[in-house]
């Protein structure tokens, strides 16, 4: 049995999850990563996607997050997300809203001629489109 570490998921509005976890997978900007206890300290920003934590209490739980970053240290993982919601509570309207925000972001950067940021926003949007069927209730 793997060691436990503290996992916290915070959105601006509230503390969504806090507890002991064995493993947490999160969508980093440069690729998904799985975190076990005793991980080296890393700070990474996040793509839109699913954070999955294997919690001691409550078992495996998934959250949809957008924007923000994860603060990983040997002691635990803290995720600060601009928008976060448990996957089971995610509705189609919420998801459409997220896509709209991503689209706006893209349009803004594209109009400003900032291609690097535009490409980034574009990939976020693609990511959202790509995972839409898999995480939304039919």
């Amino acid at each position: 049995m793997a060691d436990n570490f503290t996992f916290e998921l915070v959105s601006p509005e509230e503390l969504l999850a806090s507890g002991d976890a064995q493993i947490v997978t999160l969508p980093g900007t440069e690729g998904d990563m799985g975190v076990l206890a005793g991980h080296a300290p890393v700070m990474t920003s996040l793509r839109p996607g699913l954070v999955t934590a294997n919690l001691t209490e409550g078992g495996e739980t998934s959250y949809f997050v957008r924007g923000g970053f994860a603060d990983i240290s040997p002691a635990g993982v803290t995720i600060l997300a601009e928008f976060a919601v448990p996957q089971k509570d995610l509705t189609r309207e919420m998801f459409e809203e997220q896509k709209r925000i991503a689209q706006e972001d893209y349009d803004k950067h594209h109009a400003a001629g900032d291609e690097a940021k535009a490409a980034n926003a574009r990939s976020y949007l693609d990511q959202l489109n790509h995972m839409e069927p898999s995480i939304l209730p039919a």
């Binding site: 959105s11 601006p12 080296a40 890393v42 700070m43 990474t44 920003s45 970053f69 600060l80 928008f83």
Partner: protein
């Protein structure tokens, strides 16, 4: 001397007023609880944010490459005052005390030859500041239709502020709001958000060593670039929540006072009314008796 009927009407009207203020007080109390809860549950986020900001900022330091949002434009000629107040009145000195703080600051800045722009959030503060600084006002941010302040609201305001910053409209932004201490005490506060005041990194050796060891993915400057605008939104969000709680607190105590005053007034009026009625009865009795004696 007011007639008995006048007094009766007066008492009835004060009683009606008292009912209204009493109801407003109770509504404010209920809303206060919710607003306080919202402010409390938002606290972990801004605390962590502050910690991370302090970490990264100390890692990057004052290097040339530091983004403008962190180090400032190197100028302090134009100031933006973001003044957050309520959309509604009848909450004691809440709106005016925030507006006063902003006004003093604006006067001070103008006296020292700086340029000032004011971005009001909420109608009440805008109305007060318009009297003196009509030419400095940017369009008011209207939150009248917003029941519960969400992060999106703060984000929209932050976007507006950042756009202004990017187009070089100002150098320094200060946020005005009332910090919620307790129901009877809300403290008008000014906080500089651009460039941010970074709290000194904890001097705990543990925290320090942790910060130097961090791996950044992507690198520090990119994360920082992502983080800084977000920090502005978080600060504004926090201010809005504090304000919401403060507003309800101020309204609650103001309405409590009003209810008490109305009660006192009713007592006084009732006393006058009874006295006058008694005087009239006595007068009538005297008339009857002296009439009987004359016979």
């Amino acid at each position: 001397m007011a007639s008995l009927k006048d007094l009766r009407n007066r008492i009835a009207s004060v009683k009606a007023t008292q009912k209204i203020t009493k109801a407003m007080q109770m509504v404010a109390a209920a809303k206060l609880r919710r607003a306080q809860q919202a402010a409390e549950s938002a606290r972990p986020f801004s605390q962590r944010m502050d910690a991370v900001m302090a970490n990264i900022a100390s890692a990057i330091g004052d290097s040339e490459s530091a983004p403008k949002l962190l180090s400032g434009t190197g100028n302090d000629q134009t100031h933006l005052l973001v003044v957050a107040t309520a959309e509604r009145g009848l909450c004691g000195g809440f709106n005016s005390s925030i507006a006063r703080l902003a006004r003093d600051k604006a006067r001070e800045l103008r006296a020292s030859g700086k340029q000032v722009k004011i971005l009001p959030i909420g109608k009440k503060g805008a109305d007060i500041l318009k009297r003196e600084f009509a030419d400095l006002m940017l369009p008011t941010v209207d939150l009248r239709d917003v029941k519960h302040v969400g992060f999106e609201n703060a984000n929209a305001i932050a976007k507006q502020v950042l756009d202004l910053f990017d187009s070089g409209e100002f150098d320094i932004a200060t946020l005005f709001y009332a910090e919620f201490k307790s129901v009877i005490s809300q403290i008008p506060t000014a906080q500089q958000v651009i460039p941010p005041e970074i709290a000194a990194v904890d001097s705990e050796p543990e925290a320090n060593s942790a910060s130097t060891m961090y791996d950044y993915e992507p690198d520090e400057s990119e994360i920082l670039e992502d983080l800084l605008p977000r920090n502005v939104a978080v600060q504004i969000f926090r201010a809005l929540l504090e304000n919401a709680a403060s507003e309800q607190g101020a309204r609650m105590s103001a309405m409590d006072n009003a209810t008490r005053n109305a009660g006192e007034m009713i007592d006084k009026l009732t006393l006058t009314y009874n006295r006058q009625r008694q005087a009239q009865i006595t007068k009538e009795l005297i008339e009857i008796i002296s009439g009987a004696e004359a016979l």
